[in-house]
């Protein structure tokens, strides 16, 4: 049965995913959310760990369901020659193939770029590795916080005077996936224009490094090595998160004297407004620690929502620092499609986090939740590869489709 049309800018593009955990699947998700047909190759003997975390039912695994909406699932045993042959036949029908398997795994399975371009000369192959596919450290593997530490990014994150503890431990994988998806579409443009495919070698560590590009380049110009600086900003002060009632925090960023005076007025701090230590941006920067302490004393007993609203109305950027509880109950995110419902095999529907974009016209529809394992075997084997029902039954019986 043909799949429903979903529209979107990447309609008609077919992507094959041999991915696990987060970075690779996130790249696939973004492409699917832009309208591509993304087929994830899976096997019960070599499961994506995300299908295993949080329970025994691989079709109802919370982590997996939270990422893989609008992904199709086909089973093929990568440990068998026949399974690999089926994957090669899928490559022949695809535009892009993405993997984030261990270094060397694709080549050992005869799925390296040279092998795949024999099958599909204009294939775009995107390979995601911690350090990329080459270089003296290419053999190493790691996890998101390892990339962030190696990249130089984590060294820049920490409270002043503390160990640079880096971004939250979850940070990194998803951004790597986003950069991977970006590179894949760029390659698609080159193919449209010239007919050529290519190999894309993506380094997760370098992805994190690219996020501190201006800090690194600034160092090249000024020779000042960047370091963890809390919430310090050399061009805004006050600039930070300030405590409010009930353990809440309010982020405030003041760029000039007008905003500073508005802040003092709104918060009822005439003494600060007249304090010479804080009279100009330069003065505030020079005394930013004292200023942070003084301002915290004034915010501490205020309600975060009420104070934020008053400051914004006065022209001072001030926003709630959102906890997971705040985010889950954010009505604005629901109304924009930042949260939305998709289908769910067990519960009927499931809330998910929608894309960061809206498009007019022809936004891709995002309606189907993550697939059951092998949910699209029939579609891929019968319609895409053109196998007979008997052939599919036989492959299933012999656990090539597993």
């Amino acid at each position: 049965m043909p799949l429903p049309e979903r529209g979107g800018p990447l309609a008609g593009v077919r992507v094959l995913e041999l991915t696990k955990v987060w970075a690779g699947p996130y790249a696939g998700k973004l492409l699917a959310h832009l309208g591509a047909e993304v087929i994830k190759v899976e096997s019960r003997t070599n499961l994506d760990e995300m299908r295993a975390y949080g329970g025994v039912d691989v079709d109802a695994a919370p982590y997996f369901l939270s990422i893989n909406q609008e992904i199709l699932s086909v089973q093929a045993n990568m440990k068998s020659a026949e399974g690999l042959d089926l994957i090669r036949r899928m490559v022949a029908q695809s535009d892009i193939i993405i993997d984030n398997l261990r270094p060397g795994a694709m080549e050992r399975s005869q799925l390296g770029y040279e092998a795949l371009r024999q099958i599909k000369p204009d294939i775009i192959q995107l390979s995601i590795k911690m350090w990329g596919n080459e270089g003296p450290l290419g053999y190493q593997t790691g996890y998101a916080p390892s990339f962030a530490a190696l990249s130089g990014l984590n060294y820049l994150v920490g409270h002043e005077g503390d160990v640079p503890r880096g971004m939250n431990i979850r940070y990194g994988d998803s951004t790597v996936g986003a950069c991977a998806a970006l590179a894949a579409i760029a390659a698609l443009h080159h193919r449209e224009r010239t007919g050529e495919g290519q190999f894309i070698d993506l380094s997760a560590v370098e992805t994190m490094t690219s996020l501190i590009g201006d800090s690194l380049f600034g160092w090249s110009v000024t020779s000042e090595v960047p370091h963890a600086d809390g919430n310090f900003h050399p061009e805004m002060c006050p600039h930070g998160a300030y405590p409010c009632r009930e353990g809440e925090w309010l982020s405030i960023a003041v760029a000039n004297d007008t905003e500073w005076q508005a802040l003092c007025r709104t918060i009822g701090a005439e003494a600060l407004a007249d304090d010479r230590r804080f009279a100009s941006l330069d003065a505030r920067l020079a005394n930013h620690r004292e200023l942070d302490i003084a301002l915290s004393e004034l915010t501490r007993d205020r309600g975060v929502l009420e104070l934020g609203e008053a400051l914004r109305a006065a022209g001072v950027p001030a926003f709630l620092s959102a906890s997971s509880l705040d985010l889950c109950s954010d009505e604005a995110l629901w109304s924009r499609g930042g949260y939305r419902m998709v289908s769910d095999h067990r519960n009927g529907t499931r809330p998910i986090i929608g894309p960061s974009w809206r498009m007019t016209p022809d936004e891709a529809r995002i309606e189907r939740g993550a697939p059951l394992i092998g949910e699209h075997n029939e579609y891929v084997y019968r319609e895409v590869l053109g196998l007979s029902a008997d052939q599919v039954d036989d492959l299933t019986l012999r656990k090539v489709i597993d």
């Binding site: 800018p9 986003a178 997971s324 604005a332 016209p361």
Partner: protein, 390 residues
């Protein structure tokens, strides 16, 4: 040759998110024409500056964000009793352009009007909360965005309630993230334009980029499979992974499996204290007490190590231990050197500089920094002559 050779992009963006989006596209080989107000883009006035002296050609930030672009100075502001002379130049540029990148909460032209006049144009507009949000929300700055999106509240991991949420690395982390999604959506839409000849309006919310990046943590809470809460630690994983001080800086140790533990015990030379830990403690007994006990013993050992040799020895045994690299360390890293991540480029005022490039190596269309950031209005004559009134 670049992947986007032949694509023409007009950039009216003036914030880091929009300029980074334009840079990503320019570095792929698109022709990106940056339109600057009289006096120049505000990012030219942001430091750090060469020799600490401000000036439109002296900003390292601007130089980094605008490689491979062209600059045209256009006065597009409305002025009473005076025709906006240069609007027609913009209109003619847009008639020829494939995409427009903007990041103003109040754009010059309403997206719907622009779509009507230029139906083929891909118009990408990046704002803090996306179109339709109240005007006072749209004044959010980077630190507000990363706080509103939840990452600041949960950074670093294991933060105690008395310490403030953090803005992340540098000044602009949320801008980089938004720039990536904007470039992604724009490229996807340009692909559709190739096939259909029509454009789209793309409305990017910087806060939603932040929220999307945590899909498999927050998504489980949204679905009721994990409990959301006010704790600063709700995104954490609860294991022993963290940064440790060592002799010459910091190490990051990640450890979740029995194999990781066995390898670490071997790396440390099987000290006596490790015997009180069950072999499978990370998988089945990873309690706060065990974690604290582990760190109490591990920290003094780590303090005696040098970050690079011990990480290499650890990696060979299967320990996910890595140095917390500083900027200076990156330049010495053989891996960065061999992949050519940093590229030298000469800028007329800033001189020779080392530019971080991109994390993706495209075999047929490698990214190359061909030209440094343009001087203000450097391409006025060339572009305005092309688009002067007929």
């Amino acid at each position: 040759m670049g992947a986007l050779n032949g694509t023409l992009i007009v950039e009216t963006a003036e914030r880091v998110c929009g300029e980074y989006c334009g840079k990503l596209l320019a570095d792929f080989g698109a022709e990106v024409i940056k339109l600057e107000r009289p006096g120049g883009a505000p990012t030219r006035q942001m430091g750090p500056f060469m020799d600490s002296i401000a000036g439109p050609e002296r900003s390292a930030l601007f130089a980094y964000l605008n490689t491979n672009k062209k600059s045209v100075m256009l006065d597009l502001a409305e002025a009473a009793d005076q025709p906006v002379l240069e609007r027609p130049v913009l209109e003619r540029l847009l008639a020829r352009a494939d995409a427009l990148i903007d990041d103003h909460a109040e754009p010059l032209t309403l997206p719907a009007d622009l779509a009507e006049r230029h139906p083929r144009l891909v118009h990408c507009l990046i704002t803090p909360f996306g179109q339709g949000a109240p005007a006072e929300w749209q004044q959010a700055r980077s630190i507000n965005v990363i706080n509103a999106g939840g990452w600041a509240y949960h950074t670093p991991s294991e933060t105690t309630p008395d310490k403030p949420p953090l803005k992340g690395a540098g000044r602009f982390l949320s801008d980089y993230e938004a720039g990536i999604d904007a470039a992604l959506a724009t490229l996807a839409s340009l692909y559709r334009q190739r096939r259909t000849g029509s454009g789209q309006f793309i409305d990017i919310s910087e806060v939603q980029v932040q929220v999307n990046r945590v899909d498999c943590v927050l998504g489980r809470m949204l679905a009721g499979e994990a409990e959301p809460g006010p704790e600063r630690t709700r995104y954490d994983m609860g294991g022993p992974a963290t940064s440790f001080a060592c002799k010459d800086g910091f190490l990051y140790l990640f450890m979740t499996t029995r194999a990781h533990w066995a390898a670490l015990v071997e790396l440390m030379g099987e000290p006596e204290w490790t015997k009180s830990f069950p072999d499978d403690w990370l998988e089945f007994h990873c309690t706060p007490d065990h974690v604290a006990e582990f760190r109490r013993h591990f920290a003094p050992w780590a303090a005696e190590q040098e970050k690079v040799p011990i990480s290499e020895a650890g990696q060979k045994l299967g320990v996910a231990i890595v140095p917390v690299n500083t900027a200076a360390d990156l330049l010495l890293s053989e891996q960065f050197i061999q992949r050519g991540f940093f590229q030298r480029l000469s800028h007329p005022v800033l001189g020779q500089g080392l530019y971080p490039t991109v994390p993706y190596k495209l075999s047929r269309t490698p990214v190359e920094l061909a030209t440094p950031a343009p001087a203000l209005g450097q391409h006025n004559a060339e572009i305005k002559a092309d688009h002067a009134a007929a």
